[in-house]
Symmetry: none
Subunit: 213 residues, 4 copies
């Protein structure tokens, strides 16, 4: 039914509109300081309409996170299918990840902030679980590239792949936190050393995985 499809489409567009408005504001003021009124105004919709598309504020958060994770996982997935060796693979993966993040600070926030902020009162239903699953999937994608690299000899390590993956994830988290830091620190540290995050990751990976190009 074409009509139903168009409606479905329209609904998705609206959801995206709201999400984009939320992302813009969260980027400027952070999640907690962004009110539903703000989002409504930014989206040029009424507050009530927001609740037509998202059950509550936390669901907007999860939707942003989910969107970011899906995009990211898709990108990593496509890299995994290319004819790269493991070392190239993981470097490409992280490069893509940081590209994505640079383009959209709110994505970064969505991925990071959530951990601390969302009120732990009740479980937030399917949305939360979905995000958790996507995060697990993300980890798996990285794990795969590490395993490939160890097998094809493009990287060497006695450490179990899973442990290596956790260390890589931790490093990513650390960098994301650095990026999200209020300006003085970011500017003073990142700028002072005059190294992009990509370069930091490069050095980190070369050492962790004994990559020799």
């Amino acid at each position: 039914m074409a009509i139903k499809e168009r409606k479905e489409d329209e609904k998705k567009r609206r959801k995206d509109l709201i999400l984009q408005a939320a992302i813009t504001l969260i980027q400027q003021k952070g999640f907690e300081n962004t009110t539903m009124d703000d989002i409504a105004q930014q989206a040029e919709l009424s507050k009530g309409t927001l609740y037509l598309y998202f059950a509550d504020k936390s669901n907007i958060h999860y939707a942003i996170k989910k969107k970011a994770l899906i995009l990211l996982n898709e990108t990593l997935q496509s890299i995994l299918q290319k004819d790269y060796n493991g070392a190239t693979m993981i470097k490409e993966m992280l490069s893509s990840l940081f590209d994505l993040i640079e383009k959209n600070k709110a994505f970064t926030q969505a991925m990071m902030l959530y951990e601390h902020n969302v009120k732990a009162d009740l479980t937030h239903g399917i949305e939360e679980q979905e995000c958790y699953d996507l995060q697990t999937e993300l980890m798996m994608l990285i794990l795969r590239s590490v395993q490939i690299g160890l097998v094809d000899g493009s990287m060497k390590s006695d450490v179990p792949p899973k442990i290596l993956t956790i260390i890589i994830i931790n490093q990513i988290t650390g960098i994301l936190t650095l990026i999200l830091s209020p300006s003085p620190k970011k500017q003073k540290i990142l700028a002072e050393y005059n190294h992009s995050v990509t370069q930091l990751m490069e050095v980190f990976l070369n050492n962790l995985l004994n990559i020799n190009e």
Copy 2:
């Protein structure tokens, strides 16, 4: 003047009392979910009294962070003065850091949460600067041990020490985030791999700094 000193002392004791109350509650409920009422009650003081010692809620946050950083820096400083080689030094430092953190989750929260939460409205005066300085000092202490290690041969790397330090800090941040994560992730990831954070750091450092024991 003895009287002035005693008063100063008394004031510090009171501040500590409040801080301890705040730490206890933040540990249980997180910073955002801890109200000034809660803190006052926990400290067995009136709410008004809190404002006699701290200009506002964010200052309580900074004070906790400051306290944590001072304690940490002192510990690292004392390690730096011991007759260790660089590799041992840095391992001792991180071991101490995680000991401290394990004992006091609110310290961890103070160090991490702030980055995202504190309202960016106004500058938070000296407190914020002090925390920033202490964080810089912390970095310097780690940097020193890296430099020592590279000189005494207990670690090897072509990477500039400053870069290595940033990577180490990032890894620490990542682990702290992991520790602070709501239970499912912490339990499923940390527990599943059955590796303590200390062990993770050990592997990470050995690889980053080519430590051979």
Copy 3:
């Protein structure tokens, strides 16, 4: 014109459909807790359609009340036309009333709740007046049976029939309130004394009207 009639019929059917949906929900959750969305969903109609048949939510209320009162009055009317003496008549009337109520708690609610709930902002037009008239008619029907009973000697009282009628109505109201009460009271009182409302009315009537069977 047959077409017009059919349309009229269809309209009435739709109105009844909506009303039935509303009744079902009000029975479960009460009038205030039943939203127009709820009703639309239950009736499998769109929310907008509701407003095609009822000017506003309060009119749905009045329509339910009206429906209940019409049904009730018809029943009482038919009893009035039977070859009963006054005493039997009034007992039959009340028995029918409670039968009706037992079958449909929403009717009871419609009859009772309205008094307190409906916003007194504006006059609710004809609907309200109609309900008022029907209530007056209900009273008249009871009054007639009282008058008949006093004349045929099946009941005795020096009190003017109108006063007796008001007392009877009050007792009915009281019982309806008891029935509508949240469970603890209903269960503890009604159940404890193990007397059905019909029995209560029986005793009450026998005494008020000196009925001797």
Copy 4:
């Protein structure tokens, strides 16, 4: 401690002030249509202050009901201790009850409305239980006077005292509902018959309890 007492007193005065404001407004607009803002404004306090004295809106309702019931029970209790026969006792009781009600329509509303309105979501704690207990006590006081009347011969009935009491309570409820009715009904019915509620009760009681003066 005189200070503590004074504070306690002051607190009670404030609670009463708020309650009185609430009563005034509820009398005019009903409970549902009275907002916390309204009450705050009427009490010439800020909205926040209301929450210093009452945990939530429903507690204001319960407090009014409780106040009404305590006052009523005290009055009935004092009548019970007088040297009246049962018939006089119960008439005095109902007379007092209606006096009280006439003076304060919001009391009546508090007693009646609650049954239907307060959201049945959760139990409302001690307050609700206290009101329930007070209502039970009220019933007991009436029951006692009935029992006394049956024993001292001032009233006669074969019906168990408990049943008589329920019938009396039902009649009271009915009259209260009548009183609370929006003006047209009250005026048209009450005025038309030109009988005060006290007179209605008199007739009702004489017949139910076969009182002969």
